[in-house]
């Protein structure tokens, strides 16, 4: 360790860096290199669950003004990702023949598994800070339907329409884990959804995807920066395809077998098993 600091002062951070660089200059050449004994791959990374060939979305959340588009964009925004495995996407998307003969009618293509994942993990009030996901029982409404507007061989363009409502009371229904809050405060998000997607129904995959969600949030969670602003107030989300491999914030709570979990649980997953006490 050449230096360390916990400070918001640029001057203090700069001074620490200068001192650390001086110490670096004093190091022997061999001390500047990584000890081969210490060169070990991490035992577990959530990115290991990256769903190759699945649906990988970047998600932006942003506070909105009641004036909506006529107001300047708020500088309170946040980012996250959402994953669906290749298998989940294949199960969700119909065969081309099914689209034509069945769900392409007024009902459209039912994207219920994606709606559920959006409502639980992506359409959350984190525009001002870290927040919590919702349990399935806290999803009052989650609908997402793709209405076919264009078919070009196996490529089907759909217009997405849907809505979600998630509402958490002063309970926590997702077990004892890294996200278990010490304080349980009511909160929720309700959104209308509109967007477009292009499906490749030969490959049963998403070739393009863009979704906008606009609605309201209310209540707060311990760290989401709402303070006394319990709302309701407007919030918006944008989701689109990304090559970013960073894991979704709540990947550990997806409850799917295609995202590997760490072999050794963290102390909050299982204090008894790891032999560590929760402080």
């Amino acid at each position: 360790m050449l230096g360390r600091i916990n400070s918001r002062s640029p001057e203090r951070v700069g001074a620490m860096l200068d001192a650390a660089l001086e110490r670096w200059g004093d190091l022997a050449e061999e001390e500047r290199r990584l000890d081969p004994e210490a060169d070990r791959a991490p035992a577990h990374r959530w990115e290991d669950g990256f769903p190759e060939g699945g649906l990988v979305l970047s998600r932006i959340s942003r506070d909105l003004s009641p004036e909506g588009l006529s107001a300047s964009p708020s500088n309170r925004w946040n980012r996250d990702t959402l994953w669906c495995s290749k298998g989940e996407v294949k199960a969700m998307l119909p065969e081309l023949s099914e689209v034509i003969l069945g769900p392409a009618g007024p009902e459209g293509i039912d994207l219920q598994p994606l709606a559920d994942r959006l409502a639980q993990f992506a359409l959350v009030d984190d525009a001002r800070g870290q927040t919590l996901p919702y349990a399935p029982a806290e999803i009052e409404r989650a609908r997402l339907v793709g209405r076919v507007v264009e078919v070009n061989g196996p490529k089907v363009r759909v217009e997405l329409t849907g809505s979600t409502k998630a509402s958490a009371a002063d309970t926590w229904l997702l077990g004892d884990n890294n996200w278990t809050p010490r304080r349980r405060i009511p909160h929720g998000v309700e959104c209308e959804l509109l967007g477009t997607a292009t499906l490749d129904l030969e490959d049963r995959s998403f070739e393009a995807f863009e979704l906008v969600a606009v609605g309201t949030r209310w209540g707060r969670t311990t760290f989401n920066g709402r303070g006394k602003d319990l709302g309701p107030s407007p919030i918006g989300f944008h989701l689109t395809l990304t090559a970013d491999r960073v894991a979704p914030t709540f990947a550990s709570l997806y409850g799917v077998d295609w995202i590997p979990r760490p072999e050794v649980p963290t102390w909050r997953d299982s204090p008894a098993e790891s032999g560590l006490e929760r402080r």
């Binding site: 034509i100 507007v149 309700e190 906008v212 609605g215 920066g225 709302g231």
Partner: protein
């Protein structure tokens, strides 16, 4: 197969997406701005971060701490580790 092909052809001749009537979906809460299909491009511009917001992404971040240590060792340069509590995505 023939039926499928014919139906595909019929659908292909349908009105293009932009010709469909504008869809107004009022948010279910009175405080929420109106979300309409005709405004989707404007919403994209409003919601997505601008270039200034994404300057941090111009840094060639390594995906793990160990990747950074290896690169620093190879390049014989010191490593700056900047830590923030919370999830790198969920925490502002």
């Amino acid at each position: 197969m023939l039926i499928t092909s014919l139906l595909v052809a019929v659908l292909q001749q349908g009105p293009p997406a932009q010709a469909l009537p504008a869809e107004a979906t009022p948010a279910s809460q009175a405080d929420a701005p109106l979300l309409r299909r005709v405004d989707l491009e404007d919403w994209r511009a409003h919601l997505l971060p601008g270039a200034a917001d994404l300057r941090f992404a111009q840094i060639a971040w390594e995906p793990t701490f160990m990747d950074g240590v290896r690169r620093a060792s190879e390049e014989e340069r010191p490593l700056l580790l900047w830590l923030m509590n919370g999830h790198p995505l969920g925490c502002t």
